[in-house]
C-alpha cells in the first residue's frame, strides 16, 4: 500500500466513526493504530466533531497530510461497532489496498433498519416512557400518535437538511399540540406524562454522554462543543413545547 492509499483508508475509517457518533479518542486512536500497524512511525491525528486532520512523516522527512471535513453527524452505533472491529482486523491482517477498501465500503454500507421499523422504535420509546413516567394506557396511546407524527416530521425535515435545532423545536411543538388536543378532548388524563414520554425521542442523552467521555479523555475542545450541543437541544425542546402549550392555553 502506498502512503497516500494508507492515509485514505485510515482517514476514511476515522471519518465513518466520527460521523456515526464515536468518541474523539476512539477516532484518533483507530487512525494512529492502523498507521503504525502498516509501519508508519511518525503520525499525528487531530479530530474535532467537524473535521479530521491526519499527517504522516516519512523516513526521508517528507510529510503527507489528509484533511476531511464532516458535514453531517448522526448516531448509528452499528457502524461504530463495525468500524471498530474493522480497524482491529486491519491492524492484525494488514491487507492490501483493494481488499481494505472493499472492507471499508462493506462496513460503511451496512443495512439500516427500514422506515417502518424505525417508526416502531420511535413509538416504543414514546409509549413505554410515557408509562415509565407514570402515565396510563390511554396516555401511551396518545404518545404513540405523537411519535408517529414526530418521526414523519423529522424524516421530512432531514430530507431538506433543516437545521437540527429547528427541527427539534418543530417536533416538540407538534408533540405538545397533539398531547394538548387529546387532553382537551378528555381522552388522556396526564398531558405532561404524554409530552415527557414523547420528548424522550429528542432528549440530548447521546450528546451529554459523549461530551463527558471526550472531556475525560482530554479532548476538551470536542467535549465542550458537544456539551454546548446538548444544552442547545434542551433549550430547543423547552422552547418548542413551551411556546405551543402557552399559546394553546391562551386560546382555549
Amino acid at each position: 500500500m502506498t502512503n497516500d492509499q494508507l492515509l485514505e483508508i485510515s482517514t476514511e475509517i476515522g471519518l465513518s466513526l466520527l460521523e456515526n457518533g464515536a468518541e474523539i479518542y476512539r477516532v484518533e486512536e483507530s487512525i494512529s493504530r492502523i498507521l503504525s500497524a502498516y509501519g508508519v512511525v511518525n503520525a499525528d491525528v487531530f479530530a474535532v466533531p467537524t473535521c479530521i486532520i491526519t499527517t504522516i512523516v516519512l523516513k526521508d522527512g517528507q510529510t503527507h497530510t489528509r484533511m476531511k471535513r464532516i458535514m453531517n453527524r448522526s448516531t448509528n452505533l452499528d457502524i461504530v461497532s463495525a468500524m471498530n472491529n474493522l480497524s482491529r482486523e486491519l491492524c492484525k491482517l494488514k491487507p492490501e489496498y483493494d481488499e481494505a477498501k472493499k472492507l471499508v465500503n462493506q462496513a460503511k454500507n451496512r443495512k439500516r433498519f427500514s422506515l417502518p421499523i424505525q417508526i416502531l422504535g420511535c413509538v416504543f420509546i414514546g409509549s413505554f416512557f410515557t408509562i415509565f413516567f407514570g402515565g396510563n394506557f390511554y396516555d401511551a396511546l396518545v404518545s404513540l400518535l405523537c411519535c408517529v407524527v414526530l418521526k414523519f416530521l423529522l424524516v421530512v425535515m432531514d430530507k431538506f437538511k433543516t437545521n437540527m435545532f429547528f427541527s427539534y423545536t418543530v417536533g416538540s411543538m407538534a408533540i405538545a399540540a397533539i398531547a394538548f388536543l387529546f387532553h382537551y378532548l378528555g381522552f388522556s388524563q396526564n398531558m405532561d406524562k404524554v409530552i415527557i414520554g414523547s420528548l424522550m425521542n429528542l432528549v440530548p442523552g447521546v450528546a451529554l454522554t459523549n461530551s463527558m467521555r471526550d472531556i475525560i479523555a482530554g479532548d476538551l475542545v470536542a467535549g465542550l462543543t458537544k456539551f454546548v450541543e446538548a444544552i442547545m437541544i434542551a433549550v430547543a425542546i423547552a422552547v418548542g413545547t413551551g411556546v405551543c402549550v402557552y399559546l394553546l392555553k391562551m386560546f382555549v
Binding site: T75, D192, L199
Partner: protein, 150 residues
C-alpha cells in the same frame, strides 16, 4: 405488580432507543437490559431519600455493566452506555422547568431548573468516576505487562 410493569416499560423503551441507533440482535437486547439495571439500582437506593444520589449510583452501575459487556463482546463501551443511560436523562425536569417558566412561577422555575441541572451533573459525575478508574486500571495493567516483559 406496578413495579414489574415499569421495568418492562423501561426495557421496551430502551429497545426503542437501540432500534433508533441501529443496534441489532443480541447487542440490542443486552444494551436495553442495561437500562433495566440502572433503574433497578435507582429504586434500590430509594432509602437514601436523595434522588441526586440515586442517579449517581445508578449511573455508576450502568457504567460498570457497560465496561464489562464491552470487554466480553469486544465492542465499544459507548454502545451499551448511551442506550442504558437514556432512561435516566432528565426529560421530565426539562419539561417541568419550562412549564414553571411559562406560568411565571420564578421560584419553582429556579428550583426545578437547578434540580434538573444537578441530575445531569450526577450522571456526568458517575461517568467520570468509573471511566477514570477503568482507564487507571488499564494503564496499571499495561505498565505491569511491559515491565515484566523487559
Amino acid at each position: 405488580m406496578n413495579t414489574i410493569i415499569i421495568f418492562i416499560a423501561t426495557f421496551l423503551g430502551c429497545v426503542g432507543f437501540s432500534i433508533m441507533f441501529n443496534l441489532r440482535g443480541k447487542i440490542n437486547l443486552l444494551a436495553s437490559f442495561g437500562g433495566v439495571i440502572g433503574y433497578a439500582v435507582f429504586l434500590l437506593f430509594s432509602f437514601t431519600q436523595n434522588d441526586i444520589m440515586q442517579y449517581f449510583l445508578a449511573t455508576i452501575a450502568i457504567e460498570i455493566y457497560a465496561e464489562i459487556l464491552a470487554r466480553v463482546f469486544k465492542q465499544p463501551v459507548t454502545i451499551f452506555l448511551i442506550v442504558a443511560l437514556l432512561p435516566l436523562v432528565p426529560g421530565g425536569g426539562i419539561y417541568y422547568t419550562m412549564e414553571y417558566c411559562i406560568n411565571g412561577n420564578i421560584g419553582m422555575f429556579i428550583e426545578e431548573g437547578l434540580h434538573t441541572f444537578f441530575i445531569a451533573g450526577s450522571l456526568v459525575g458517575g461517568i467520570i468516576v468509573v471511566s477514570s478508574v477503568v482507564r487507571l486500571i488499564d494503564r496499571v495493567k499495561h505498565h505491569i505487562h511491559t515491565t515484566v516483559k523487559v
